[in-house]
Point group: D3
Chain length 247, copies 6
Amino acid sequence: MTRADGRAANEMRKVKITRNYLKYAEGSVLVEFGDTKVICAATIEEKVPPFLKGSGEGWVSAEYSLLPRSTQSRNVREAARGKLTGRTHEIQRLIGRALRSVIDLKALGEKTIWLDCDVVQADGGTRTAAITGSFVALVDAVNSMWGQNSKPFPVKDFLAAVSVGVLQDGVYLDLCYSEDSTAIVDMNLVMTGSGQFVEVQGTGEKGTFDQDKLNEMLTVGGQGINMLLDIQKETLGALSWKVGREG
Amino acid sequence: MTRADGRAANEMRKVKITRNYLKYAEGSVLVEFGDTKVICAATIEEKVPPFLKGSGEGWVSAEYSLLPRSTQSRNVREAARGKLTGRTHEIQRLIGRALRSVIDLKALGEKTIWLDCDVVQADGGTRTAAITGSFVALVDAVNSMWGQNSKPFPVKDFLAAVSVGVLQDGVYLDLCYSEDSTAIVDMNLVMTGSGQFVEVQGTGEKGTFDQDKLNEMLTVGGQGINMLLDIQKETLGALSWKVGREG
Amino acid sequence: MTRADGRAANEMRKVKITRNYLKYAEGSVLVEFGDTKVICAATIEEKVPPFLKGSGEGWVSAEYSLLPRSTQSRNVREAARGKLTGRTHEIQRLIGRALRSVIDLKALGEKTIWLDCDVVQADGGTRTAAITGSFVALVDAVNSMWGQNSKPFPVKDFLAAVSVGVLQDGVYLDLCYSEDSTAIVDMNLVMTGSGQFVEVQGTGEKGTFDQDKLNEMLTVGGQGINMLLDIQKETLGALSWKVGREG
Amino acid sequence: MTRADGRAANEMRKVKITRNYLKYAEGSVLVEFGDTKVICAATIEEKVPPFLKGSGEGWVSAEYSLLPRSTQSRNVREAARGKLTGRTHEIQRLIGRALRSVIDLKALGEKTIWLDCDVVQADGGTRTAAITGSFVALVDAVNSMWGQNSKPFPVKDFLAAVSVGVLQDGVYLDLCYSEDSTAIVDMNLVMTGSGQFVEVQGTGEKGTFDQDKLNEMLTVGGQGINMLLDIQKETLGALSWKVGREG
Amino acid sequence: MTRADGRAANEMRKVKITRNYLKYAEGSVLVEFGDTKVICAATIEEKVPPFLKGSGEGWVSAEYSLLPRSTQSRNVREAARGKLTGRTHEIQRLIGRALRSVIDLKALGEKTIWLDCDVVQADGGTRTAAITGSFVALVDAVNSMWGQNSKPFPVKDFLAAVSVGVLQDGVYLDLCYSEDSTAIVDMNLVMTGSGQFVEVQGTGEKGTFDQDKLNEMLTVGGQGINMLLDIQKETLGALSWKVGREG
Amino acid sequence: MTRADGRAANEMRKVKITRNYLKYAEGSVLVEFGDTKVICAATIEEKVPPFLKGSGEGWVSAEYSLLPRSTQSRNVREAARGKLTGRTHEIQRLIGRALRSVIDLKALGEKTIWLDCDVVQADGGTRTAAITGSFVALVDAVNSMWGQNSKPFPVKDFLAAVSVGVLQDGVYLDLCYSEDSTAIVDMNLVMTGSGQFVEVQGTGEKGTFDQDKLNEMLTVGGQGINMLLDIQKETLGALSWKVGREG
């Protein structure tokens, strides 16, 4: 199969992360995976959810939303409907959980970091772009309050996410919308800078899969993660150095 | 008073309208009034609200939303809250009403045009930027379905909106957020290409005003409208010619 | 054009304000503009919204609702629908803002005054009747807690509101429903006892308007305001004397 | 015990039913039981709930609401809260069920009659006043569409409701709020013009009761019902004659 | 009329109460009235509703819900709809009120006992089964925190509930669904161990009723209550002895 | 580590599936994984979601809910809160997706099968128990409408789900609540009767994991799936034979 944009099966779309995209947020990026564009904004709030009050620990929480015309046909605003869809719930729980895995919540202290992921244009892979971009916004936000002090930096490791899928004739990396909508199996991978898995979510949308296909998806996905980690490091520049520092 | 950005009292901020900002929408712009940035997307829907069914007439409706970190402190998502604020209701009613004033709803036929105005960054004047930008997105959307035919073009006239306010020492055009938050009187003007008023909304936020101040605000506001109309025409280029054509 | 009820173009309908209409409220009126009837009840609450806590200042907030059969065809209860319409939001924000313009919120102290405006019968001009009647209920409520003390009375000036519109053949004052529904331009004016504007809201519902028509509407509207101020003063009797007193 | 208003234990408060209280409704009254005042409006809608579609039968449904300052302290609007309280649900179900018991739903045909009961002032007994008043509004609404034809009149019998309670020293009729709030047992009775029970709802609010007390409450309540039926007949005048007519 | 299951007119269905049905709740039963099955779980919460804070008194509150396939056709989940039906509100208010009548809220202290009544299968009489079963769960929950101390036991008396109805040919006890759906009159009775009434709710669903029928229903209902009280005592065994103990 | 109930690391808890648990549902089971108990009810509805209307294809949808005292501390009812939690959304989407993978939606025709999974007791693994039990209820429901005809049976393969986790000292099958709450990695596996994967969801709750641990979890999970498939077949008895039949 030749991909619409001529990519190899294990090739990412063009990825671009623009830092400081917003004027007011403590950290913010516009992340682009090809035509998929997501604004990720990180906000530091000086309080924590009730179950953490007095614990000395912080929290990271994410919200995700599609702009009405990010999609091919207009999707009705969740604010107009008065409630979130199940898909939105699922995605924002995933983003929050993924980011918490690389944050030292004790070192963060009793603060909440909110990641707002608003999809400007949706051409497949919005959740993986959101996680990958949010990581950069998160580092900027944490850095904005960390100063020069010698305490351990609360971001312990890098984190990126990518999708990989089984189409008719094989395994493909970073599916765009038209590929995604015909995929037999769809997998989202979240991995750390040290190559560990944080989330492995494989779903047989239009069929099932065996262990071999699973392994192939993990291999191809891992290649995508490595490319994304490189781009994050380049984008963060000198700040990359702080990630994982013990003080 | 010297303005923060050195503008004259009757000078607009730098205004920029980027057409075709989104890939899927029938018409879309990113409109910028200084640091205020709004994505306006126009969608054509092949149905009308119940009260127009069978009437042969169309409708124009608007929705408005602030991204959580468009503002200085994070504003809670209306989708998470489960309902729109009064401010949002007020603004989206204004945008819809304003745009309908220059649309020939009969010529449009039984279609609804949705204008989605999503504020990426809010530095004052989001509703006036939204109206001014939405007009351009609307023209593009209408044009996308009008083709070469000889029927009258459903957009009858140009339309722009601007804010003007009374500060301590006089009347100022196009208030940015820091000016707006200290304004004694705040006025939003919506006017057509032929210089007629569509909306005059003056509010004594921190004081009242007399007829003289009202007239001064109308004069200064009218100057701003003219500048915006010029920018819209330049942005639309050859398409400007269709606005108001009888067929 | 001869008006249905034989009024002159610049004549108000019969206006009647009945004080102490309810037994429990700190201030209450039934206000009638012809067949438009609104119950306005003022409640004093010993707390303020979060953004004013500890500020020493008070607040005035309004709620507005149509009884289901105040209108020609039954309107569905907002409580049954589970949310307010945009129109309701817009009107209750206007009423609250207008009343705050004549209240010295510092002199009031950390209290909230709620104005509940429930429309028993709606024949046009419900929002202007609500503002005009609420002012009287507000004065009664403030007076009920002010006693004989020598501090400045927190109500600084009188306040009334009126509608004025452009119909086919000219400008008319205080539109009833059948006039309002055919108006080309609809304007609501809120003014103080000293002749200052608080709100000027002119909307081209079925057409646009120029500066001359705007001026004519302001003139005719001002005449209506004066009539309403006279009725308020007569209704309040000796209590009128306290409005604007410095101590 | 001497009652606050000097009534005998088995005496109703002053009851007044004002017909045609609203201009637009098909039937409407203001019903007063002493200081308790309820506007009851009847609306005829040319459709029925889904479970009756095509059945040839009609329906009667009621909605009930307290105005915010009908009560001693302000009660929060259900529309603002976004949902009805359990108490409201319970009362509007009771009103609807009671009225349906005297309506020939087949004779009515596929129409819904809505009864909107809005409490202007609440001094105990709002649900019994609402039922008693709604009956009159219902007769007027049915009559408005029945004309001179010879079909059976869909209202089969009169209907009234009253409260009766056990206080410290005995059984009392038509409790006002101060009595109701100290009642040991509270009973609401709904009865027809022919002396049959429609609803018997006795609740031991602050204690229990035996068969003797139950019988005493039924006797005293029946006396109240008879007084209310007389007032309904007087209020309806010649129209009383149609109730129960077979054609 | 012969009943579907061959019962006499004044005979209960087979009643079974299984204690400690759930592992985590402080008290819980599965109560069965024939094919009607309800799980009743009692939870002790160390706080009270706002209106009781600091009063030293406790509260008892109930929630009621039908599982989607407890009924013949699937009923839509209230959680999916986003709000409770009026019927649910009415039933859970009844259950809470009934149980409070036999609890010494002062002796309970500032705690809330929640009764969760979840209907697994609904064949008529779910509210009466819920009250009867909840009483047993409540005793177990109270006992779990009472220990061996000598203070009065907060449960003052036994409590049970039963339905009784008028069908075509007479009065019947404990209606199953098919009987209930054709009943002319439907009555729910709640009575204490000492034979006092707590609630008498008789409703003419398809007709009205006179004093004689009312008395007959009370007699037959009382017989059902006695049978239920015997079963509760047997179920509770030695614990029965604590109910009503003064210390 | 010795497990609380003495199980081996790769041993399931005692699993029990009781068919025909409810009287009215087309298919229903009580499924028990140790102390985890879930009622699964299957309902056949003669319509499909809008996006399938006219397609000739059917749908399978699931709803999931915890009874308030299924958990150690009482969880607030989603119906009382007015909305579902994100966790509930996530689980019910998973159950529906999993079941659809083994249903031939074309063979089913334009019907929806609802699976209602209500958790009576929650001791870990509620979603895997719900999928495993729902499969059996689904087969019964499909069978109830399939009769003796020769068309292919719409259930194409068996389906079961199990959880597996990484604890301090290794990989464990079918975690109970106390194990789950301390797991470093938590994985849910859904597999078919022919050993294919439908869902692989591994989450690093308190740490990350590498490829070896992933493989170990897949192996142990596969053993659990096989045990569950055996129990399903035994429970379904002769009906097992129909699963996967081509006609």
